[in-house]
């Protein structure tokens, strides 16, 4: 019996989304073609766009479909950087939080290495939440800032960021704000219009769409350049034949996720709290990272560090007990790196190596959590012994 506790990495498509995908993939038709088949595909595309806009409280013209959240983050960082700098060459600063996903941080540092950008990392407290005073100080250089980017909720530790305060600062200083909301959509109510953000990243396979589709929401007045050339699709911001089947499935899954968000959040919260209390009982010295339950964290995930254990030992032992979890998000050639998120929260490198993230989805059950809790005491003990051998 297998228990999947890694929904934050990817969750299976919902039956309705999968059925929509399969049905749509059977049609010929390029949404840019002018004949009947093309018109049909175009209609599905635009209806999907309207659905997505309605679900996220945006306008249809603000929805740019991409192949992934990573692509949307790249488009936001690079596209807005280039767009803003072409209006005013002094705007070369990128203000990003230190706990952003690598698909956001890496393009920022790429721009620093290749396009003369300057990256300012906004610090977080020990729970992974932005230090607002430090952030406010960064706006001293607002006139040279091309873009600020702060995630909605952290994908590793689940911490929610102070949305309204960040948006107010950005508006006061006239700095566009991007928010990566890949972890939030489906778990929290997300309104693009009310968020104060100028751009927002969404990733389909985190809430029940198939792999290979995401979106960037962008306000129409935001200066943004395309990263790809070769077609005028998606407001000229994303060249290439549009992936209509994936987008239709994305809209179906998003409609399900947002219409059932409150029930899902309650379901995930109750499982998460069972998991957190159970892990603490099973391994008393395990440390929950990020805020305590009920205080500004995602409903569906919890990351613990297990003193004296290495994440790869824990992962192997749980995997062989049929429980699938993750050491976090950062991974290079399969080698777990100490998480930059934990390090930014002030966790020391050795503790960070003993991190394990458990994340729940709409199909998760109490049995999944209980299987973890049953396996955990002996797994942690074994992993600790193995940790001692490699330390000697």
């Amino acid at each position: 019996m297998s228990h999947y506790l890694d929904h934050a990495a990817s969750t299976a498509p919902t039956p309705a989304a999968l059925a929509a995908y399969v049905e749509e993939a059977g049609h010929a038709g390029n949404a840019s073609s002018l004949h009947a088949a093309g018109r049909r595909a175009r209609r599905v595309l635009e209806e999907s766009r309207e659905t997505v806009a309605a679900c996220l409280d945006a306008r249809p013209s603000e929805v740019i479909f991409t192949s992934s959240g990573t692509e949307a983050n790249n488009l936001a960082l690079k596209g807005i950087f280039w767009g803003r700098r072409s209006q005013d060459a002094a705007r070369r600063r990128l203000l990003v939080s230190a706990v952003e996903h690598h698909s956001l941080l890496d393009p920022a540092f790429w721009l620093a290495g290749h396009a003369g950008a300057e990256v300012a990392l906004a610090e977080v407290d020990q729970n992974g939440r932005l230090e607002l005073a430090a952030l406010a100080a960064e706006f001293g250089e607002a006139s040279s800032t091309a873009l600020a980017s702060v995630m909605w909720a952290n994908n590793e530790v689940g911490t929610l960021q102070p949305i309204a305060e960040v948006a107010r600062l950005c508006q006061r200083f006239g700095v566009p704000l991007h928010r990566a909301a890949a972890s939030a959509v489906g778990q929290l109510p997300v309104s693009f219009a009310a968020s104060g953000a100028d751009a927002l990243t969404v990733s389909g396979h985190k809430f029940g769409a198939p792999l290979g589709v995401g979106a960037l929401l962008t306000r129409r007045d935001l200066p943004i350049e395309s990263l790809t050339q070769g077609g005028s699709q998606e407001r000229g911001l994303r060249a290439g034949t549009v992936n209509v089947p994936a987008i239709r499935a994305f809209a179906v899954a998003l409609a399900e996720a947002t219409s059932t968000q409150a029930e899902r959040a309650a379901h995930l919260t109750s499982l998460r709290d069972r998991l957190i209390a159970g892990v603490r009982r099973a391994v008393p010295d395990a440390v929950l990272r990020g805020p305590e339950p009920a205080t500004g964290r995602l409903p569906g995930s919890a990351l613990f560090t297990f003193p004296g254990c290495e994440g790869d030992s824990l992962l192997y032992l749980l995997d062989s007990a049929g429980v699938q979890a993750s050491t976090g998000s950062a991974c290079q050639a399969g080698i777990p790196q100490p998480s930059h998120v934990l390090l930014a929260m002030g966790v020391d490198e050795e503790s960070a190596r003993g991190a394990l993230r458990f994340s729940l989805g709409s199909t998760s059950t109490e049995a999944d959590v209980d299987a973890l809790l049953a396996a955990l005491p002996s797994v942690a003990e074994r992993a600790r012994n193995a940790g001692l051998t490699s330390a000697r």
Binding site: L317, I335, R382, R392
Partner: protein, 368 residues
């Protein structure tokens, strides 16, 4: 048994893992990541540490239907292999990093971690045999003499040997191993062998040392103490070396010159004629044994049928052994023939027939 198969991404460890599966063991594949920055290592297919090697190993595990993980052993590797490599060269010795990796990483850290996680043994793709003996398992040469790797395994302990499987032990040739891989549709069946030091991707050992130990120019002397050239650091020279001396003038007698010794105290390199390299006595330190050494040096007189080998693919030489300094020092007297160009820091492995008895690190070699 629950067996952890160490999978480098090469054909040998792939076949070893396959044979462990076919023998009915419950096998899990593990690739050891020896650096946290894999792109720093070679990008081609010949190393044991590149990203391609990790994914080759993963594909073999897929094919065998076994779980596969990459374990980060980079810290141990850096501390016990790379740092030791630099320290040994800096001290004027010539280390064997593959042997140190076996001693500290594969048959220590990996093995202990495997045991702590519930494995009974680890399987590797070495060409050697662990055969049952009256007093526990014995390490023996592979019947494939050209590939025999018992030399680099001699450094593991007796306890470690009892927790290791060498599924390739009975193979008579590499071609047989490649055929076994092809027969099982393993994509690595035609992958080239690796030769060089995995953490020196371009094969430029001297450049690697210079970048880390710094240039330290000094004189190259002849045996009479006359300067005949200059070098950029005596640490980069190895006894017996002929190439790369860059001596402007030929020797008076016109014959090639070899490195006879390196002296770290005055940073000098001494060169001379080939015959001055000849030795018939070897002194080893840090001896370790794969058998109880007491009977070997017991009341029955000196052990018979003993041979020593000083290079990974060198010839074995008949020898008489004596222990000095309460067993701390092992001296081998070659009884038939001599060796040439024996560098301190290499391992001297003791054989009796095909069996490995033990090994020690060479501290000194001389003729008498």
């Amino acid at each position: 048994m629950r067996v952890l198969a160490a999978m480098s991404g090469g054909v040998d460890s792939a076949v070893a893992a396959a044979l462990a599966v076919e023998a009915g063991h419950e096998v899990v594949g593990v690739h050891m990541a020896l650096t946290r920055n894999p792109q720093l290592f070679r990008a081609g297919s010949r190393g044991c540490c590149s990203l391609e090697d990790a994914s080759d190993a993963r594909r073999v595990a897929d094919r065998l239907g076994i779980p596969f993980y990459v374990w980060d052993l980079s810290e141990t590797f850096q501390d016990t292999v790379v740092e030791d490599f630099l320290a040994e060269y800096a001290a004027g010795r010539t280390p064997n990093p593959c042997l140190r990796c076996n001693e500290h990483v594969k048959f220590r850290t990996l093995l202990d971690k495997a045991q702590a996680l519930g494995f009974d043994a680890i399987a590797t793709g070495h060409y050697a045999q662990a055969l049952p003996g009256p007093d526990g398992p014995e390490l023996h040469r592979s019947p494939n003499h050209a590939k025999d790797q018992s030399y680099v395994l001699a450094v593991m302990g007796r306890d470690e040997l009892s927790r290791v499987l060498f599924p390739l032990g009975g193979f008579a040739s590499k071609d047989e191993v490649r055929a076994a891989a092809a027969q099982r549709d393993l994509a690595v069946s035609a992958k080239p062998d690796s030769y060089d030091i995995c953490f020196i991707p371009d094969g430029d050992t001297r450049g690697f040392l210079r970048d880390r130990l710094g240039a330290r120019p000094g004189p190259i002397l002849d045996p009479e103490g006359r300067q005949v050239g200059e070098h950029e650091g005596a640490y980069a020279y190895t006894v017996g070396q002929r190439k790369g001396l860059a001596l402007g003038r030929p020797a008076v007698d016109g014959r090639p010159r070899y490195v006879l010794s390196t002296n770290m105290r005055d940073n000098s390199v001494v060169v001379g004629a080939e015959e001055l390299l000849t030795v018939n006595h070897l002194q080893g330190r840090r001896a370790s044994w794969l058998t109880d050494p007491a009977p070997i040096f017991g009341a029955d007189g000196p052990p018979s049928g003993i041979a020593v080998q000083v290079r990974a693919h060198g010839r074995e030489m008949s020898a008489e052994l004596t222990l000095e300094d309460q067993g701390e020092t092992l001296v081998s007297r070659l009884t038939s023939g001599t060796l040439r160009g024996v560098a301190a820091g290499q391992s001297m492995v003791i054989y009796q027939g095909t069996r490995v008895l033990g090994q020690a690190t060479i501290a000194r070699a001389w003729r008498q």
